[in-house]
């Protein structure tokens, strides 16, 4: 099997049953595996809510390791709609020409750097710095801030060996508190300042609310972007024909991006809290229990996707849910798509071929499912 092949562990259960319940700190989660069920459930926010105790819709649950509500992520309409309106335009800035030009400068420099080296550990020395520098554009803060974030390493929210240990996140939370105070004392044109000056339902956003948006921006776009970048690089290393295709037909790049995020599905699933006794896919879901929308499984659903386990780079119809679905679809998706667009364009332009020298898979465990989501280590050589 190729190193950039990501098997679908859900297939049999998805086709035969459609859901599977896993334990999580005595608050079980029923994973919904079929695309149609995932979409229907994601859309029905009244029965499947996000605005429960902070951290509870995340799997593994973060209720014991954080109190700050992530915004707009952990709220429901109508409040969610208000928060979303507040930040939507800001999160579409990645489409601006200057933003794309700055991103191109960053990513071209990163690729030039690895082309000079004999060997690169892609996660630590390429994807993490790339993700961190790109994030300075999204927050509109000086690029030098990225050096602090890179210093935190890839495991900033939880310990590497214990997913229930959130003590590592203290560095991030303290940092964000300091940044909010800085922006409050001297407003600028960054995201902190915009939020501090904003109102929702006639009231100024509190610092706790501002923190909730910023934490979401940091957390939602870290592992996901790092995995998308790393996995895409691994894929093109093993599929030089695909890189050649991008050189010859750059117009397929937008489709290639959607297909890579479908195939890799950097976020496996996201939970919801059931508000009343109901049924999903013949599963009796009781009030105050949890279900999860398994994007990774839905994106391999053969009822919708032809050859779901193949990367079809120019897949024309691709109704994937890798960025979620309905009200809570990924706020950072525009940024993520631009990062991938510039990355693919730069690889096609500057890199001749790439070799994988060594690797270690990052396998998530969800009950009986073992899912490869990325790599713990990926050593590569980039050649002109």
């Amino acid at each position: 099997m190729k190193k950039s092949t990501f098997p679908d562990p859900f297939q049999k259960t998805r086709e035969q049953i459609g859901h599977h319940t896993i334990d999580d700190q005595n608050d079980p989660v029923t994973m919904l595996l079929r695309l149609k069920d995932v979409r229907r459930t994601a859309h029905n926010w009244q029965t499947f809510q996000s605005g429960a105790a902070p951290g509870r819709i995340v799997v593994p649950s973060e209720v014991h390791i954080r109190d700050t509500r992530q915004i707009p992520f952990e709220t429901d309409p109508p409040l969610h709609t208000e928060y979303r309106k507040l930040v939507e335009e800001w999160f579409r800035r990645p489409l601006n020409e200057e933003y794309e030009a700055a991103l191109t400068r960053q990513i071209e420099a990163a690729v030039e750097e690895v082309l000079q080296k004999d060997k690169t550990e892609v996660i630590r020395d390429f994807a993490l710095p790339l993700q961190s520098r790109a994030l300075t554009l999204l927050l509109n803060v000086p690029e030098t801030e990225a050096e602090t974030w890179i210093g935190w390493g890839t495991h900033v929210f939880r310990s590497e060996d214990n997913p229930l240990d959130g003590s590592k996140a203290t560095a991030l939370y303290d940092y964000i508190d300091r940044e909010i105070e800085r922006a409050a004392a001297k407003p600028s044109d960054d995201l902190y300042s915009l939020l501090l000056a904003s109102e929702v339902q006639g009231k100024k956003l509190t610092k706790e609310e501002v923190k909730g948006v910023i934490i979401l921006t940091f957390a939602g776009g870290r592992d996901t972007v790092i995995n998308a970048v790393t996995n895409s690089v691994a894929y093109f290393a093993e599929h030089p024909d695909s890189l050649q295709l991008l050189r010859e037909q750059p117009e397929i790049t937008p489709r290639a991006i959607e297909e890579l995020v479908r195939y890799f599905s950097p976020l496996t699933h996201m939970g919801r809290i059931v508000t009343e006794d109901t049924h999903v896919c013949e599963h009796a879901a009781k009030a105050d229990t949890r279900v999860s929308l398994c994007w990774a499984s839905a994106n391999r659903d053969a009822a919708v996707f032809e050859n779901p386990n193949e990367v079809v780079l120019d897949r024309k119809v691709n109704p994937h849910v890798a960025f979620g679905f309905s009200h809570h679809n990924c706020l950072g998706a525009t940024h993520a798509r631009q990062v991938l667009k510039v990355l693919l364009t730069t690889l096609a332009k500057k890199v001749g071929y790439m070799e994988i020298l060594d690797h270690k898979d990052n396998i998530e465990q969800w009950g009986k499912f073992d899912r490869k989501v990325g790599f713990d280590k990926l050593e590569m050589r980039f050649n002109k």
Binding site: R39, E258, V304, K316, V317, N318, P319, R337
Partner: protein
């Protein structure tokens, strides 16, 4: 060349000309308000939802199954709904009128 007219939710009328690509791409290239085309036209985001003027519906045709599944969950869906990334400019009737779906 085909003429396609968009009516935005602000009731602004814009007529564009095009010969290739999707109607969504034509709209995005000309900054038609309310047509975002976030997914680049692969039918995964429903941010290019339009209502086809009834007199053109027969020629434009009904949405396919996958497109229909996307529209099912859109608050502004009606019998004239289409995702315009799934309509080719070349196949569109000349003079087509599309109303951008959304809150009015």
């Amino acid at each position: 060349m085909k003429k396609i007219t968009f009516i935005t939710t602000d009731n602004e009328t814009v007529t564009l000309e095009g010969s290739s690509g999707s109607v969504m791409e034509l709209a995005v290239a000309n900054n038609i308000k309310g047509i975002e085309g976030n997914c680049g036209g692969v039918c995964s985001c429903a941010t290019c939802h339009v209502h086809v003027a009834p007199e053109f519906m027969k020629q434009v045709g009904k949405p396919g199954e996958i497109e229909n599944d996307m529209l099912e969950f859109d608050d502004n869906v009606n019998e004239y709904s289409r995702l315009c990334c799934q309509i080719n400019v070349a196949d569109a009737p000349d003079g087509l009128v599309l109303k951008v779906a959304g809150e009015e």
